[in-house]
Amino acid sequence: MRCSENKRSFSGKLKPTWCKGCTYFIFQKVLNGLLQRLNYDPLSTVFVSGIGCSSRISLYTSAFGMHTIHGRAIPVATGIRLSRSDVSVLVIAGDGDLFSIGAGHFVHAARKNIDITVFCLNNMTYAMTKNQSSPTSGFDHAGSFTPAGNQTLPLNTVEFAICCKSSFVARSTTFTPDHLEKTIIRALKHRGFSFVDIVAPCRTFNPEYFPSEKQISIVDVNETMQFDMKDYSSALQCASRCIFPSRESPAVLPVGTFFEA
């Protein structure tokens, strides 16, 4: 729901408990700024989250916030959306929340094309419980439950989201706030289930990604790859080649809009 008279701030009064320099501050700043600039009304906007570092964001807004239980942000958001078409519903949750415990819900909200915007703050670890491997952790990631190195390949979230028939799928990263902002605008404007994977590595448990300029090369697939983002199979093929972190070239982070129905 847009608010016509005055632009109201989305900054909440509570101080985040995130670590100093956490990449989530970047996402929060970009999102709050955008919502205000796009005239969203905090009194008609609901942030829904699960449990984890990123999920605390629903308590740090001036909008309505639901900090729910682990993995279940999407069903709650579905209930709000289906019962009220006049409020904006944003799901902000982590990679463990959305793709481990809550993966079953993602499938169905996407399949049903529920009109919500899902942001995955993907830090590739369970940070709040002090570093266990998550579904998006890289191969060989040394989590506290997998001290010898995690022996599973990471889930390619964008490929998965396209397979589930999400109607908008993109990836961005907190390393490039401008690209992040453009991607969020597209996701918010999209009618239907939209998903943005936001690579936001954990400063405490993934220090190898910092400083980013030296470690990671960010590649915009919309500029470098030939594919039709309106075509399901073309988009899926492109997304399937754009896993992050990839075992072969872990320093390459492919971003961009992969699919838009």
Binding site: M1, L43, V76, I80, S83, H108
Partner: protein, 612 residues
């Protein structure tokens, strides 16, 4: 012609797919047109065709009588059904059997002799449809209706009207064939055994035929439920079937979720959005919902959860009966939660209690669990349904705002909303104020303030807190806010007593009340002085009522269909009562005759426990 006495119980048996249940439901409709009360209890296997299938019709002159009496008349097509049901038949009961199927008179007589039941009166009939044409199976229902209707001397015109009503949307030839079969069944000779039911003066058409699931769903519609989500599970599916047809036409939402966790999650989301919401499930689904139930208690959102109980643990017996989920409903989910557990005790009460459940949940801002069961849920009854304007509705107190027009009809009422903008003076709104039991709820898109809610322990503003003092205060407030429930909703406890001087007290809950009611009458006519207490409010325990019963007698019997004596144990825990338990785990409701014998044994045997 024999004049039958009421209540009269008739059971039609057969194989699934033979139209037995359809015949029973049509008989109930014909009876309602003659002014009778009654109920039709369905038993079916977990399969679509084949397997034992039966419908028990209780004909009564009293409201919402449930089939808990022994059988007066049994209709069978297979000899196996006689072996299965004969133990439930009264002495001198009538047995109508189809001698064209697998029942021969010689075999039957031999069996009855072996079972020492030569008191049974036999009526042989030949159903035309049992012949060689397998495709004609679907017309059994009308033919059986004709046979049973003739036995009870129901006018053929009434039966034909019922058949036309039931099959009105089928094609013409099916409709005509069914009409032919009902009159064919009516013409089958039954010797001299015809009976007659006493005339009723109740005006027909003031009542509706609904099963317990439909009654819950009807009530949800009447009370303004705007959102329903569920996952299919026997025996609760009927609630979703009903609401999926009815809610969308009223601008409300019915949604099939991907699992029970999502079902309750979506209902909680809708409640946060200001809409009255409900979900329905059975045992396994209730287990999956526990974490979200704790969340709803913690964030204090109104929510109604219907658990249509079936025997457990695990998958258990999906199509059978038990009252085993009380502990799960009261104590399920970690930590200590504030919630309300209600149990309807008749089909009619499924309607009224669902209204109460919504009202309690809106008023106290907490989840309310309705413990229905498979028998209540699947039994069709002739019940009164109040007009919408006669239903007492309580809406949650919400924070008001400017844009009332966006706040639709299906959402909570705006009558009790509170405009708190002037009082805030720039301070944050106290969603969980310690000064009141419950504070108004801000609603997105409507209220002038926003709020953030969390399952973390929180302070008055809803912000997470580590303060041990705040945790203690908030937890106390959440627990104590329910203290007034018994006083505020007196209809949640039902009494049946004549005098304060009593020999013993009887407590029953849920469908067990139906059997208990008739047992109390019989015991009183035997000279016992009894007070009966039928709590519909199971948790928090109705301490006022229990204390009153305790002041009258030390001997209290609790009847329930589970093995632990779950309600009796709740009473021991919360009211320091030491009741005697009558328990049953048979998969069917306790029959009144069995309960009577058991009560007598307990009273004469100086009060011990009894497991049936």
């Amino acid at each position: 012609m024999v004049l039958l006495t009421l209540p009269y119980t008739l059971k039609i048996t057969g194989c699934a797919g033979e139209g037995v249940i359809c015949a029973g439901e049509m008989l109930l409709e014909a009876l309602s047109r003659l002014g009778f009360h009654g109920a039709a209890y369905r038993e079916f296997p977990s399969s679509i065709e084949g397997g034992y299938c039966a419908v028990t019709i209780q004909i009564s002159d009293k409201l919402s009588y449930l089939p808990v009496n022994n059988i007066d008349c049994l209709f069978v097509r297979y000899i196996a059904a006689v072996e299965k049901e004969i133990g439930h038949c009264r002495r001198g009961a009538v047995l109508i059997y189809d001698d064209s199927s697998q029942c021969s008179e010689d075999e039957l007589l031999a069996l009855l002799k072996k079972l020492k039941r030569s008191d049974i009166q036999l009526i042989a009939i030949s159903l035309i449809e049992s012949g060689n044409d397998p495709g004609s199976k679907k017309f059994y229902s009308s033919e059986i209706l004709g046979v049973v209707g003739r036995f009870l001397s129901i006018p053929l015109s009434n039966l034909e009207y019922t058949v036309r009503n039931r099959f009105q949307y089928k094609n013409l030839s099916t409709l005509q064939r069914n009409c032919d079969m009902v009159s064919r069944g009516y013409q089958i000779q039954q010797g001299s055994h015809y009976s007659k039911l006493p005339l009723q003066d109740k005006k027909p058409f003031e009542y509706e035929i609904l099963d317990g699931n439909e009654a819950v769903a009807r009530a949800a519609v009447s009370v303004g439920c705007g959102f329903f989500s569920s996952y299919p599970i026997t025996p609760s599916t009927g609630i979703g079937n009903f609401l999926a047809r009815v809610l969308p036409a009223r601008g409300a939402v019915s949604c099939q979720a991907e699992d029970e966790i999502a079902a309750i999650g979506a209902a909680i989301g809708a409640s946060f959005a200001g809409v009255k919401s409900m979900t329905a499930t059975s045992g396994p689904g209730l287990s999956l919902m526990q974490e979200f139930l704790g969340y709803a208690s913690m964030v204090e959102l109104p929510l109604v959860v219907v658990d249509v109980q079936r025997p457990g643990p695990s998958t258990g017996s999906p199509a059978q009966f038990a009252q085993e989920d009380l502990f799960a409903a009261v104590f399920g989910s970690h930590g200590e939660t504030s919630r309300i557990v209600l149990a309807p005790d008749s089909i009619g009460n499924c309607f009224n209690l669902t209204i109460d459940a919504f009202n309690c949940s809106e008023y106290f801002q907490c989840p309310v669990i309705i413990l229905s069961d498979s028998v209540l849920g699947l039994t069709k009854g002739i019940i009164p349904v109040p007009e919408r304007q006669d239903v007492r509705i309580i809406n949650r107190s919400v924070v008001s705002g400017e844009c009332k027009e966006t706040y639709g009809e299906s959402t909570a009422g705006v009558s009790e909303c509170k405009d708190i903008r002037g009082e805030l003076n720039g301070e944050e709104f106290k969603r969980y104020s310690l000064e009141t039991a419950v504070a108004p709820i801000p609603v997105p898109g409507y209220s002038s303030v926003s709020c953030r809610i969390t399952g973390l322990e929180h302070d008055e503003y809803g912000n997470p807190t580590d303060s041990a003092e705040m945790r203690t205060l908030q937890q106390k407030r959440r627990m104590n806010k329910l203290n007034l429930i018994e006083t505020m909703f007196p209809s949640l406890v039902e009494w049946d007593y004549c005098t304060d001087e009593i020999d013993f007290g009887l407590i029953a809950w849920g469908i067990t009340v139906a059997a208990a009611g008739s047992v109390v009458e019989r015991l009183r006519s035997d000279g016992f002085r009894i007070a009966a207490l039928y709590p519909r409010l199971l948790f928090p325990v109705c301490l006022n009522a229990i204390k009153r019963l305790q002041s009258m007698t030390d001997h209290i019997i609790v009847v329930e269909s589970n093995g632990h004596g779950q309600y009796a144990r709740l009473l021991k825990m919360y009211a320091d009562v030491k009741p005697h338990s009558i328990l049953s785990q048979t998969g069917s409701p306790i029959l009144s005759d069995t309960l009577y014998d058991s009560c007598v044994r307990i009273v004469k045997g100086c009060f011990e426990n009894e497991m049936l």
